[in-house]
Symmetry: D2
């Protein structure tokens, strides 16, 4: 009888479901390479604690405070599959121990970028507005419904935030030969110039952009980054696309601008989700509504599973992870995201 020397992996992905992130073939890879202790349906802390001392990796976002990490002497990787880093892990200890703290944010980037572009083209051309009109028998033909329709090609476009989302969106926008500016306080101007981008201070970006994509994550610094003054600075007719986090924008100010018809918007994230049933803004015309749907599509979930398996195999082979996002010690404590409901 030989011992099974495959590294042990604890799988506790809640609120993710394992069958959603692992296609059968990818799950088979995981099971072939690792001894998987599957706690997807077992939230009992005792089960987790029993497996922890031998665990090579944890897939999921369970609490990992100092005491638990002390037990996890074999731990090499923590693979968050939810998309945000929360305060339930003793990150300093993990970093000091050389445990890889990995996130799955990049898995959603392409889905969000495509959705954001879809919203932008919708508000540029009135696609959902005219579809509604058609359904009520009031559609307009040819140029009659196009008075405010604009091209994206050649437009002045501003990106607020240039992380995973911005990097995924950029090539889609460049196909339209847009005149692009980027604002990201976490990146030196020369880092953007190095990759061919123009950095701009936020006020300048807002003042000149015909399309603005809000792609920033929430930190203590970025709450209401777009308040009434900033929104008022946008040119008339600007299309604002909001797909990252609601806290970045002052929604009362946004509703005022939309209600006045001064700007148009596509909005995927909301201060309160679900939006109250009786919210009077549900009938605003200059807005395309989307229910936090930009990232969470089946292909994005499946990509998480592939990233996890690829990186666990890398680490088990003595190589660095290359697919998941490596948590930065400087940033992991700054995020103010709440779990997605």
């Amino acid at each position: 009888m030989t011992a099974d020397d495959r590294p042990l992996v604890i799988l506790q992905p809640a609120p993710q479901r394992p069958e959603r992130i692992f296609r059968p073939a990818v799950r088979a890879e995981l099971d072939r390479l690792f001894r998987v202790v599957d706690l997807s349906d077992d939230q009992d802390p005792a089960s987790f604690d029993r497996a922890l001392p031998e665990a090579f990796a944890v897939i999921g976002q369970p609490d990992l405070p100092t005491e638990r990490l002390a037990e996890a002497t074999a731990l090499r990787a923590i693979c968050n599959v939810e998309g945000n880093f929360f305060g339930n892990v003793d990150y300093p200890t993990a970093f000091a121990r050389g445990i890889h703290v990995l996130g799955c944010g990049p898995a959603y980037a392409q889905a969000v970028a495509e959705h954001a572009l879809g919203l932008a083209l919708d508000v540029a051309r009135g696609i959902s507005r005219e579809d509604r009109a058609f359904r009520s028998g009031t559609e307009r033909y040819v140029a009659d419904g196009n008075a405010d329709a604009v091209l994206l090609r050649g437009a002045r476009v501003g990106l607020i935030g240039y992380g995973n989302l911005g990097r995924a969106l950029r090539p889609l926008l460049e196909a339209f030969a847009v005149d692009l500016q980027v604002h990201d306080p976490w990146l030196p101007d020369r880092a953007l110039a190095e990759v061919g981008l123009v950095a701009a201070p936020l006020p300048e970006l807002l003042r000149r952009s015909q399309f603005v994509f809000v792609l920033a994550t929430v930190t203590s610094d970025s709450e209401h980054l777009l308040g009434a003054d900033q929104l008022a600075a946008l040119p008339d007719g600007t299309r604002l696309i909001l797909v990252s986090r609601a806290a970045v924008v002052d929604y009362d100010a946004l509703w005022s601008e939309l209600d006045a018809g001064r700007i148009l918007a596509g909005v995927d994230v909301w201060p309160e989700e679900p939006v109250p049933a009786d919210d009077p803004y549900r009938r605003l015309e200059g807005l395309v509504f989307s229910g936090h749907r930009a990232g969470g599509i089946p292909q994005a979930f499946e990509r998480i599973g592939e990233m996890v398996v690829d990186d666990l195999r890398q680490i088990a082979a003595g190589l660095p992870p290359v697919r998941m996002q490596v948590a930065a010690r400087e940033l992991v404590g700054r995020y103010r995201n709440r779990p997605v409901g």
Copy 2:
């Protein structure tokens, strides 16, 4: 007293309006370079006939039968600003005389390509569907509304027709790293290969595509190119985007497929426009409705004026036109397009 030796240009753009195609600066250029006989509001044939003998160019699509061309001894260019070539010109004589017969089709290509991509992203992600749900208080959040949402990135995409529209759409699609096939019976396979495209027979293209863009113009050969059999060949869940001409598709067959929920579609052109008020299909769910709006936006119209002025200046300088589409003698008689109402 000196004679005005600027070439004479007759401007009779109806149904286009001159102020829509010529921005003031461009109109000023036209007026500076040419003696413009503006018949925008004068449809009296006598006015036209009076100016014709001295005309260097005609901007518009008036009748130019053999007899009229015989009078137009100075004519060097006919600049169609409507988008389609009709049978009201003696094309053989124009070609034999070396008169440039020019169309403004390319002016619309970018607008149509952007609209087509907007429709594709809408049906890929359910953007207008979920916007409607939001307005009726039945929206779904996060993954709940995304069961059938798909990425465009990496998708198998087929283009039917590869003219102005296809060339404008291609770079937008390539930003998504799609797996592209093209069917265009007017182009040799090697002409497509030369520019890096894969030519495919129509049946193969239909059988494998997850997104199909119908970009073909109507000729005697292309009517109902997509009939019941062709539509039945599409894989389940295919997104069909129809932005060129309605006659290319059998709409009864299309409604059947949509009604069955087997495919999804974004449709901008209709067999009858306006669509009858009581058309029962107005409430189909798997369809994004658009009222022949893909091309006719203000920036497209203004581009026509720029193209006309640029090419007339080229011709007056003894250079070939480079911006408008040169009518092919082989094709000018084949189109079966009707004027846009």
Copy 3:
């Protein structure tokens, strides 16, 4: 016994060789679709004249004066396979008759563009210079030989002429994120802007460019377009790449600048070919010499044959040619190119 109703094609490609332009498979296509009268080795005018009345197309550049065209009553296409249009054809008659006058210039464009970029990278980095040093045992290592080495990335680049060559070179340069200007007096500024290019007057382009590519053809207007004054305007250290026609540049002035070490150059075309054996400039250091080799490579020749067969099939099917270059009536008489020896 049935008549052979394949259209008749006269093949007299001299100085081209048929086996060089037609790969066996492509020649087989030609022979299957057409009755080919192969006069590749028969320059007897009588042979040509015998075939002419029935000829659907001529492949080659034989004399076609007015009288001969009068005999060629079935002629639909003249396919020049040499690269330049000469004065030995009655072009006005051909155009009036609707005979397609086609050139093979585009077949060479990719080869020239790649060679031009190779020359540019050579003079940017001293590749052939240091290879020579290595062979003489005087090579330098690491930074020692790199004092004047520059990146192409981000450089200010000027293109003089934007026809086939410019269009082929552009994407290669754009991969380096260059800051591009274009000067082409045959194109309206807006035509360049339309495709995302910046038009510049020649003096401005010369004054600011770190790399200049001379891609212009020769006409009565472009002889010595780059004379002593223009070359003197180039910034110190400019890399000049000359791959189109020698007559565009004043070589005495060019040698002076090179001899002074003020600029560097890659030169593929020469006022006299072969260059005299005792030309003292053969040992200039700041120059990469190339013997009119940029275009004439096997793959370019084979592309000519493919273009010819594709377009003849198009025309025979009642479709316009799409691969060869359609001669512009305005330009065909302007070229001043001499046959390549």
Copy 4:
């Protein structure tokens, strides 16, 4: 009197020179943000040890064994400006302490990629070979010297190694629409697929490639990765471009293949540098010689200084470094590079 609270930075870049990596403006930035102890010309260990306890960062590659790190209680970053990581640092302690270990490899990537492409185009077209012929009066014109000239466009290309160099080279190659395969044992196939690349096992890549770029670094695993068998597997006429590290290739085997004229090569790195004066291979015809010049150009050096200043400012602001390469704990001990002389 107020204390200077700018963080202290030790600058000891040898063998780099500070004036080569810091343009005056960038040096001024460094001096404004930090108290710089400039030991560029002071290799006395005592000087270094005196500054170390207060040092926020070290710019250079001095020895940092365990004992020294123990003294460096304020140390937050080690910025290597030489290009390779050596064994003179106690990396485990640095990682455990959360000290950023940063390398400047990316600074060279664009320069190497451009040089590699220049070598590839040279061997594709015989640019330096024909330049030499010209200088000796034996040049050939037009097609005569082009019998073996090939296009890069559409060629089958293999990249061995896909790190900084591969990522910089890729867009340059894609502009040629090459058919690309990548072999990198440190990357999962899906990581390459994710960014649109095709992973291939080394034997397959070698067997099918018309151009091979060797971009791999040296580790214990990659020595003589390309031995006699691998080189023999290359198709006749393959162009091999070697710009990373000599140890990856068996040069005796390479010379045999080149001497036989079976393949062509551009070589920038050598088993012994300088190459012995009497090396008989110095006159090989199918080879372009380059003296380890691909990376070390002025613009690359200046980029190092910018990266250092940008990342030190990031770290001082509590943000992660974003421009230099973060050393991977798994790889930092694997490299077998020797210092560049």
